[in-house]
């Protein structure tokens, strides 16, 4: 087999570059605990209203017994419930969302809050909102002909007022 000397060098450079990138991403994932949504939690989307967690009066931001915050939401054609949400700045929030019908996606531009919402499975995201202000919370996965109109607002408020 014939491999040119320059080509051999390039192969080593390519392998090195690839492993450096993998290393950096591992560092962030492990060191700063940055992970995508995770977890296999099946739920019956047709009976969300009968479940304890996603029943109507349990939706919204709640303080847990240990002082942490959990935001519970439902995505359904064509809106997010509750439709207006307020969260405190610089505070870790656990967000749990379920779909009542089809595939949806959540994205709040200019924050790290995004996840797919898949019927039959609970999505869980852990994030911290770094800036106060009004943000748009929109559906970013095609969910039917009214998809464009599926959006609501998320307000990040100073810590004291919440």
């Amino acid at each position: 087999m014939h491999i040119d000397q320059t080509e051999k060098k390039w192969i080593w450079i390519s392998v090195l570059m690839t492993f450096v990138m993998m290393g950096v991403l591992t560092l962030y994932a492990v060191g700063s605990n940055i992970h995508p949504p995770s977890g296999f939690e099946p739920i019956d989307s047709t009976r969300l209203h009968l479940s304890e967690e996603f029943s109507e009066d349990n939706l919204g931001l709640k303080k847990n017994d240990d002082g942490t915050l959990t935001l519970t939401m439902v995505a359904a054609r064509y809106g997010f419930y509750p439709s207006k949400v307020e969260v405190p700045v610089n505070t870790p929030v656990k967000i749990r969302i379920a779909s009542a019908d089809v595939l949806h996606g959540v994205h709040v531009p200019y924050t790290n809050f995004a996840t797919m919402v898949v019927p039959g499975y609970i999505s869980e995201v852990n994030t911290t909102f770094m800036k106060t202000g009004d943000f748009t919370l929109l559906c970013n996965e095609y969910c039917g002909l009214g998809h464009d109109h599926m959006w609501s607002r998320l307000k990040v408020v100073p810590k004291s007022s919440s």
Binding site: L25, H107, P119, G146
Partner: protein, 538 residues
């Protein structure tokens, strides 16, 4: 003319691809105009989402499959220097695929298939849509068997000799495609088709998405393969150079086959129902697939430099200007490499486990795959048809200078279209929306980029019409006796190790890798109790 029996077959496949791409571009232009929101009179989600679904199916499945089949048949017979075995099977595959396309088109064009080319259950389309798409894939499997069969016949007649690189690449792609389509075939046969026919009441969306993710990444390499084959074997011949390394090309082809199939879970980074650990493992696999592309980049640039210096180019970069830029194939390659570089950088961002969250399902993603597919891949397909049509027809190309202008327009149009899309994605614009009724501070900053994408769309429309016109006129241009020849390597390799001359061993490796990376993520849906989703119309 070349002594082969597939000119008509290849031309038929190529023309189906060319007609499909023209229709796809027209739909694309409508879509950029509609989604910009600058012309409220056009606003229609019904029409828009039917169009987006049709555009995706045409470009992703129809154009690619037929162009790859056309390329494969012609490249096989001209590189192996033997007629195609079982030509009737190839024609049957062609017509079977056509019937599939027409069935799917009937559903799509009547608004009964507006579920995107990614299918998105539990939104349901008419069964004709799923059955038609499946028939297209089954038709393409016959092409795979033809490629593998031709290689085996050639090897029997030439014991111990290295399979010509062109057909080694074609066969690698055929084997790749058989593995790639396992995911979509499982989703279709066990889920979508029986469910759309009413035989199942609910569908497990998590399982369906996991199956489809197995197809979603490697399909891109199925599309890219003919482009890479042309870069290694046709480009050097056209520009008067030699292939830098035959063996490295084989290694790159094998790596593409082995590495690209079992890594699709980066499409599911933001999905629940798969644990982050699996996503993390698939990220490593995804980064490895950059390696064969980096190796290809080196070989191609080295081949170009050799040609440039042979033609009298001097200095560190002077050889670039000495290259034969008036050759359509050279222009196609230049544009392709540039777009591959941009698109490759973007791809590294998408592949990053912790960065993807900010770009997932935004217009950035649309920008990324248009650069890699509609840019890098399609511009090489254009170079290929400009090169092969005259040889198949025994006539000279109608206008070489028109072809070069057309390729430059495609390159510029694609950048004007996709660079703003990347930026729009960073600004939070979702993909697949027909209007933007969100808060105005968010939407207002999108407008200048929306205008740019419309300009890009029209440039691409002009370009594609120039391509079709040129090829149509070539059917009636002056007779010419052009031979289809492929590049010789600098160091001829008449014999190569058995591992670089076949796919038996590598297929076993793929199966083991697939089972280890997808085994549990699929099995979990059967181990634990899950709840299917009920059926919804669009």
């Amino acid at each position: 003319m070349n002594n082969n029996n597939v000119n008509g077959l290849s031309l038929a496949n190529f023309w189906v691809g060319l007609i499909a791409i023209t229709v796809g571009v027209v739909l694309g232009v409508y879509q950029v105009v509609e989604r910009s929101g600058l012309f409220p009179v056009l606003d229609s989600p019904t029409l828009y989402f039917a169009s987006v679904s049709t555009h995706g199916v045409l470009m992703g499945f129809v154009v690619t499959t037929f162009m790859i089949m056309g390329f494969g048949y012609y490249a096989a017979t001209t590189s192996l220097k033997m007629p195609l075995p079982g030509k009737g099977i190839a024609w049957f595959g062609f017509w079977f695929s056509i019937v599939g396309v027409l069935l799917a088109a009937a559903a799509l064009l009547t608004g009964n298939g507006s579920v995107m080319y990614t299918f998105y259950p539990p939104l349901v389309a008419h069964p004709a849509f799923y059955i038609g798409a499946t028939m297209l894939v089954v038709g393409s499997w016959l092409w795979c068997f033809e490629m593998i069969w031709a290689m085996n016949i050639w090897k029997k007649a030439h014991p111990g000799e290295a399979v010509p690189l062109v057909h080694f690449g074609n066969t690698a792609n055929a084997v790749l495609w058989l593995f790639t389509t396992l995911g979509v075939a499982a989703e279709m046969l066990f889920q979508l088709i029986p469910w759309s026919l009413g035989l199942m009441e609910t569908i497990d969306v998590g399982l369906a998405r996991t199956f489809f993710s197995g197809t979603l990444h490697a399909i891109v390499y199925f599309w890219l393969f003919p482009a890479y084959i042309a870069m290694y074997t046709i480009v050097p011949k056209v520009i008067g150079s030699k292939l830098f390394s035959d063996e490295m090309a084989r290694i790159a082809f094998i790596m593409l086959l082995v590495i690209s199939v079992p890594i699709g879970m980066h499409h599911l980074y933001l999905d629940p129902f798969q644990e982050a650990g699996w996503k993390f493992v698939h990220m490593f696999g995804t980064f490895l697939v950059g390696l064969p592309t980096l190796f290809t980049g080196f070989t191609v640039i080295a081949t170009l430099e050799l040609a440039g210096r042979l033609r009298g180019g001097k200095g560190l970069f002077g050889w670039i200007m000495a290259l034969p830029w008036k050759e359509p194939m050279m222009t196609a390659l230049g544009g392709s490499m540039m777009m591959l570089t941009f698109g490759g950088f973007g791809g590294l961002v998408n592949a990053s486990y912790s960065l993807d969250v900010m770009l997932h399902n935004t217009q950035w993603i649309t920008g990324h795959f248009h650069l890699i597919f509609a840019g890098t891949t399609i511009i090489m397909y254009m170079g290929i048809v400009y090169h092969m049509f005259p040889r198949m027809l025994g006539r000279s190309l109608y206008s070489s200078s028109l072809a070069v202008k057309q390729l430059w327009l495609w390159f510029v149009g694609m950048l004007v279209l996709t660079l703003p899309w990347h930026y729009l994605g960073i600004l939070g614009q979702p993909r697949r929306i027909s209007s933007a009724p969100y808060d105005s501070p968010l939407v207002e900053q999108w407008i200048p980029h929306d205008i740019a994408m419309i300009v890009g769309g029209f440039i691409l429309l002009i370009s594609i019409l120039m391509l079709v016109f040129n090829l149509y006129k070539t059917h009636g241009s002056a007779a010419a006796n052009l031979v289809m020849e492929y590049a010789e390597p600098i160091h001829p390799a008449p014999r190569v190790p058995a591992l670089l001359n076949g796919f038996g061993f590598w297929s076993v490796v793929v199966v083991i890798y697939l089972i280890s990376s997808y085994g549990y993520p699929i099995a979990q849906f059967f181990i634990y109790e899950t709840f299917g989703a009920t059926t919804w119309g669009v």
